[in-house]
Amino acid sequence: MSKRERERAEEMRTHIELYVEELVARGRTPEDARREARLAFGNPRAKLEEVEAMERLPFFDALWRDLKYAVRVLRRTPAFTATAIATLALVIGANTAVFSLAHAILLRPLPFPQPERLAMVEVEGRTPKGQGRWESHDGTTWEVMRDGATAIDVAVIAGGFGHDVNLVVGGKALAVGQARVGSGYFHVLGVAPAAGREFTRDDDRPGGPAVCVISYPLWQRVFSGDAGAIGQSLLLRGERYDVIGVMPKGFENPGEPADVWTPVRPSRTGEGGGTNFGIVARVRDGHTWQEAIAAMPALDSGFIKRVTGDDVPGFSGHFTLVPLQDTLVADVQQPIVMLGGAVFTVLLIACVNLAVLVLVRGGSRTKEIATRMALGGGRRDVLRQLMTESAVLGLAGGALGLAVGYVGLEGLKALGGATFDQWTHVTLDGQMLAFTMGLSLFTCLLFGLVPALQASRLDVQAALAEGGSRSVAGGSRPWLRRILVGAEVALGVVLLVVTALLIRAFVNLRSIDPGFDPAHVVTTSVSLQDARYKTAAQMNQLFDETVRRLEQTPGIESAAVSLELPYRRLLNMGFKFMDDPDDKGHIANVMYVTPDFFKTLRVPLLGGRAISTSDAVTAPPIVVVNQGFIKLASGGRDPIGRRVRISNAEREVVGVVGDVKVTSSGFFLTGMVKGPITSGPLIYLPAAQTPDGFMGIHIWFSPMWTVRTSSPAVAEAALQHAIGAVDPLLPIGRIQQMTDIQAAATSRQRLLMILVGVLGAAAVLLAAIGIHGLIAHSVQQRTREFGIRLALGATAGGTIREVAMSGVVIACSGAVVGVGLAVMAVRLVESLVSSDYLWGVTSRDPSTYLEVGAFLVVVAAVASLLPALRIFRLDPVETLRA
C-alpha cells in the first residue's frame, strides 16, 4: 500500500471511530454503536477499491482520449500539421544523414579503450621563423622516455609505413600494409592479441628474432582462421618471419590500415640515429593528463642539440603530449567546422519554423479551448491535452525523419559512388538521431507551451462571447511571425551562398587542365619492397619485359612505368645546376619513367626531345624537365643544354614537356599555386639511368604501371597477365582508371560540397515550407474576410496577388538581410578554411550573392502563390454563411 492509500484507510478508520464515539455519547452500547457505525459507513475496503478504480482509469483514459483528440485536431488543420511534420522530418533526416557520413569518414573515432588517454609524444618548439610541432624522435629520446616516464606507458612506431608490401605465404602473393612497431605497442593502445602474444622487449632488440603479428582479416584470408597459424612463417619482402600473434576482429591500426606488424628494434644507432620514430603514449591509470604533460619537459635529454646540431640558433622546444585523436584529424578540422556551422544553421531555421507554426496556431484556438474549459476541463487537463498534441507532432516528425534520414544517407552514398569504398560501411548515427529527435520534440513542446499557458488562463466568459473563429485577423502579434519567417529566409540565403561558393570552387578544381589526357588510361602499382629488386638493373629488366608484353597485347595502345603519377604526391629531391657560380641548392619533384610515358599519358613535348630507348644505362645521363621547371627553378632561362647534378650524377637537360597537375609537391616555391591541386618543377629521369642508390625510395613509393587502352577490361587482364608472367611472386596492387585517381584528388572538396549542398537544399526547403505555412494559415483564417471582399466586388486574381505579395515582401526583406549576413559569413569561412576549399573563388564577387538572393525570392513567390490559389475556389456565399 502506498502512503496515500494508507492515509486514506486511516482517514476512514478515524471517521468510523469518531462516529462510534458520538453514538456512545448518545447512549448506545459500544457494540451497538460499532455495528451501527459500520452499517452507516458501508464497507471501507470496497470504498477504497472504488477510489482506486476511479483514479486509475482516468489517467490512461485521459491519455488515450487526449491522443485521439490530438490526432483529430491535427487532422482538422492539415496545412499546419503537414508543415510541422515536414519540417521535423527534414531537419532530423538531413542533419542525421550528413552527420553520420561526416562522423564516419572525417572524424573516425578511435576504437580503443579510453581513447582520450592516448597521445603522441611531440616536440613543441619555436625557431626564429615561427612555431611548430615535430613528431619524429631518435633512438636516444626513445630510451629516455621508456626508462624515465612514470605517468605514461610508451611504445615506438617507426616512421615510414609500408604500403603494398610484398607478402608471400602458402603459395599466395599479396600486397599488404606493414607497420613496424615496438614492444608494448598493442598494450599502450589497450588491445591484446586474440591469439598468441605481442612483441616483448626481447623480440624488440637489435638482432632479435624475425617475428610478426598479423591482423584478423589477414589471418582469415591466408590461414583460414586456423589456430595453428601461430608458429607458421611467411615471407615479407622476401624475408622470413614467424607469426607469433593475431589481433582481434575489428582492431584497426591508428592512421594507416595494417595487416602485418613487425618489430622496430629501436636503438641509438642506424635508424635510431636519426629522427625516424613516432612515440605513442597512454596516460597511466591513477595519473591525469595534466600530470603527464607537466612531467614531459623533464624527460628532455638534450635532444635539441642532437637533432638540430647547431644549425638552428634560437631554436627552443620541449616535449609534450598531443591527444592521438587530434593528430589523426588535423587535416579535417576545417571541413568539420564548416559542416558544424551548416548543421547549426539548418537546426536554427527548423526551430524558427516550428516556433512560428505553433505560435500562429495557438492564437486561433481560443474559442475551442474556452469551450473545453467551460465544460469542466481543468486547466491542467487542457494543458496536458495541448502538450499531447505537441508530442504527437514531435513523434510523428521523428518517425518520418528516420525514414528521410535513411533514404538521404543511401542517396548520399550513391552520390559518393565508386570513389569511396569507405562510404559503404556508413549507417545512420544513433546518437545524432537521438539528439535531433530529442531536440525537435523539445522545441515542439517548448513552443507549444506558450500558447497553451496563454490559453489556459483565458477568461472563459469573455472568450465564449467573442466568437473567436469569426474574427477577421486571427492570432496575435503578426509582426513577430513575419520577422521570424524573414529570419529563416536570411539564414537560408547564407547557407545557400556558402554552398554556391563551394560548388564554384569544386567546379573550378575539376575544370583545371590536367596537362595530359587521363581518359582511357588504366594504372596499377606493384610494390618493389622485395629482396630481389635491390639493383636498378633488376628493376629495369622487370619494367622492360612487362612493357614489351603489354605493348604487344591487342587493345593496348601504349604502356609505361613510372615512379609516380599525376594527381598524387610526388617525391622531391635536391639538385644543383652545374653552371651556377653560387652553387645554390634547389628542390624539385623527381620521378623515373620508361620511354613511352609521355606518349601513354599524352603529355605534350614543348621543346627538345623526350626520353627514348637510346637513353640506356651506358648512354650519357640525361633528364627531361617540365615547363614549371623553367619558371620556378631555371629562372626563366631555357634549360635545354644545362647540366644538373641530381642523384649522384651530372645529367643534361634535353627536353621540356608540359606541366601535369599533382596533389602535393611536398614543398612550396613562390609562383606555385596554393591549393589541393598544384604543379611544381618536375624532373623526369630515364628509368634505365636510375642509380642503385635510388632503390631505397621503394620503401615509400611503389612504381606505377600505366596503359592507354580502348577497353578497361582488356587492360586489367593484360596488366595481370604481363606482370604475372614476368614475376609471379609480385603482388599487383589495385587497378584503377586514371580518371578515378584524378577525381580522388578532389574527393574532400567533393564530399564537403555534397554535404553542405544537402544542408543548403534542406534550408531552402524549410524556408519555403515556412512561408507556405504562414500564407496558408493566413488564408485559412481570413476565409470569411475574403468572402466578404469577393462579394463586394474584388477580383480573385487581385486578392491572390495581394496575399502572395505579403509572402514575397517578407522573403525580399529576408533576402536582403541574408545577403548582408552572407558577406560576413563568407569572410568568416575564408578565415577558417584555407584555399583548399574555397579555391579560385573570391568572396567579393557579387554575382553569387545576387543569384542566390533572387533564387530564394522566386522560391518564396512560388511558396506564397500555391496556398493563395485557394482563394480561387472560394464561394463568397458559402463563406459568408459559415
Binding site: T14, H15, Y19, F41, K47, V51
Partner: protein, 118 residues
C-alpha cells in the same frame, strides 16, 4: 445514497448532486469527513441520508479537480483527522452549480404548477 429506514425522499434525482452538497457544506469553513455527512443530514432535516463511505470517493474526486483542498488537523476530541476546505475555484464552481440547480428547480416547479381553475 442509501436508504436507511425508508426511501429517502430525494431518491435518484439527488444521486449526481452529492458534489454540490459537499461544496455547500464546506462553504462556511473547513470540516472533516464525518462532520460533512452529519451537516448534510442536519440541514436537510434528515431527508438526505448519506452513505458515509460514499463521501470519500466524492471528496477525493473533488480534490483532484482542485475544487477542494485538504490538510491534517485535530478534531474537537483531539484525534488526527483530515479536514477539507473550499478553494477559490471550488467557490466559483459552487456558485455556478447552485445557480444551475436553482434554475432547474424553478423550471420544474413551473412545469408542475397546478393550473388555476377558474
Amino acid at each position: 445514497m442509501r436508504r436507511r429506514q425508508q426511501p429517502a425522499a430525494g431518491g435518484d434525482l439527488l444521486a449526481g448532486t452529492l458534489d454540490m452538497l459537499i461544496l455547500r457544506s464546506l462553504h462556511s469553513g473547513p470540516v472533516h469527513g464525518l462532520a460533512i455527512a452529519q451537516d448534510i443530514e442536519r440541514r436537510s432535516d434528515a431527508v438526505l441520508l448519506v452513505e458515509q463511505g460514499s463521501l470519500y470517493p466524492a471528496l477525493y474526486r473533488l480534490e483532484a479537480r482542485g475544487w477542494i483542498g485538504s490538510f491534517w488537523g485535530t478534531s474537537d476530541r483531539r484525534r488526527r483527522v483530515r479536514f477539507y476546505r473550499l478553494t477559490p475555484k471550488g467557490k466559483r464552481q459552487l456558485t455556478a452549480e447552485s445557480n444551475r440547480w436553482e434554475a432547474l428547480a424553478r423550471a420544474v416547479a413551473r412545469v408542475m404548477r397546478p393550473e388555476t381553475l377558474s
